[in-house]
């Protein structure tokens, strides 16, 4: 068995794990428990199969993206591996910028070559001058290959301000889509709970639509939280693309306005109770401000959801 890593090949002994084999060749990969619990040794298979045991306990979204645990991996065949973060950058152009609300832009980008992504994942966008920010993909794959982002316009925002004035054809580059907030087929009856604040609703809408397009049968509840009522930029009614995708499936849309005393965290926990007979069967997707996403995650965990069933993206501000 051969493992290719950063352009070099390493021979594994029969029965040897990727982690041990690489260490024997002097390549020290991050690790801690060496028994599949800490996930410090997470790697990504670029090609080849690391074997099912190597994916034990990983979130389904990660397993589907080729991630595996080096300490458990005894690959049945040759393998090309990479560190968990992707690095390739692709040129893209701004196709259209539209206002969804006074402070939310819909930005359509056209990548210079086809981009493989799952709706709801995020990618980095770099503009002239090297400013780089992360945005979540709000759209499903399209014939043109375009992707749509919902970008909150911050006063003086180095990226959002630039995008607001960007002309059609303006050049940017985008990184490899990453992140765990996407639909993974395999449990078609699982109740899905999606809760997001601000533009965090954008990737969740894409995840919900993708789930329904993939034939998901279980009930789907989407919660949009905002500090103020005008912040509910998709409205209080179920958005048309989501309603159209329902086709007989149960889809619930709820909004929570913090200044009106509606807390999305308690609403989400209540919704979980309605959706799922046992919380262990549900899947949750959370996106938005770091504080609220952390609270949502903790409360859903305390309500009985396994952490592996909760996918979360925190829309953290870029480090100054």
């Amino acid at each position: 068995m051969r493992v290719t890593f950063e352009g070099r090949e390493y021979e594994l002994r029969p029965g040897e794990s990727v982690l041990d084999g690489m260490a024997r060749h002097g390549v020290r990969l991050p690790s801690a428990c060496r028994s599949g619990t800490c996930q410090a040794c997470l790697l990504r298979a670029v090609s080849g199969d690391p074997g099912p045991a190597a994916r034990r306990g990983l979130k389904p979204a990660w397993a589907a993206s080729g991630y595996f645990l080096a300490c458990l991996a005894r690959p049945p065949a040759d393998l090309v591996i990479a560190p968990p973060g992707g690095t390739a950058r692709i040129p893209a152009t701004v196709e259209r910028v539209r206002r969804l609300a006074a402070d939310v832009l819909s930005v359509r980008l056209r990548p210079g070559r086809p981009l493989r992504f799952e709706p709801g994942q995020h990618l980095t966008v770099t503009r002239e001058g090297g400013v780089t920010r992360t945005y979540s993909i709000a759209s499903l794959p399209t014939a043109t290959g375009d992707i749509e982002l919902h970008v909150r316009l911050y006063p003086g925002g180095a990226m959002s301000g630039w995008l607001a004035g960007a002309r059609r054809g303006a050049a940017v580059t985008v990184g490899s889509p990453a992140g765990e907030c996407f639909y993974v087929p395999g449990s078609p009856r699982a109740p899905l709970l999606l809760a997001g604040t601000g533009t965090g609703i954008a990737p969740l809408l894409a995840v919900a639509r993708q789930a329904l397009a993939s034939g998901h049968q279980g009930p789907v509840a989407v919660l949009h939280g905002s500090a103020t009522r005008p912040g509910l930029y998709l409205g209080t009614r179920c958005p048309a693309p989501l309603a159209a995708a329902a086709r007989g499936r149960t889809v619930t849309w709820r909004t929570c306005v913090l200044e009106a005393g509606e807390d999305i965290v308690s609403a989400a926990v209540a919704e979980l109770g309605v959706l799922a007979a046992g919380p262990a069967s549900a899947r949750a997707f959370l996106c938005g401000g770091p504080g609220v996403v952390r609270r949502l995650r903790r409360q859903l965990f305390l309500a009985g959801m396994p952490l592996a069933a909760i996918a979360a993206d925190q829309f953290a501000a870029a480090a100054p």
Partner: protein
């Protein structure tokens, strides 16, 4: 009682340990006596560490390379027997939930209990 298999193996290995740890941690975070200590602790990191630690404590295939137990708890301020006993009780309840027998629970409790002085910085 079977003696060839470690308690870890009898509980079903890494997967069950992770589930036990989550149940254990859920109980700790729901306990008003203990929860405040965990307010600023990252859940994923802590669960991963506890799972690694439990695996080792239960005789699984392990090298726990985190900080030593005494150092990890010393900076939490004064902890008393009531904190420690509460933690042991939550561990027992979590093991029970996943079908461990009373003898196994006592075994795990004894292993964890041997760390009382380290955790309480005595």
């Amino acid at each position: 009682m079977t003696t060839e298999l470690s308690l870890y193996e009898r509980l079903g290995g890494a997967l069950a340990i992770r589930a036990v740890t989550e149940s254990f941690y859920r109980r700790v975070l729901s306990d008003d006596l203990l929860a405040p200590y965990f307010d600023d602790v990252d859940m994923d990191r802590q669960i991963a560490k506890q799972a690694a630690f439990l695996t080792m404590a239960l005789g699984g295939p392990h090298e726990y390379t985190g900080r030593d137990i005494r150092a990890a708890h010393a900076r939490l301020g004064p902890l008393g027997d009531e904190h420690f006993d509460a933690v042991i009780a939550h561990l027992a309840a979590a093991l029970r939930e996943f079908g461990a027998g009373e003898a196994e629970i006592a075994e795990a409790g004894a292993i964890a209990g041997s760390l009382r002085d380290d955790v309480l910085n005595r």
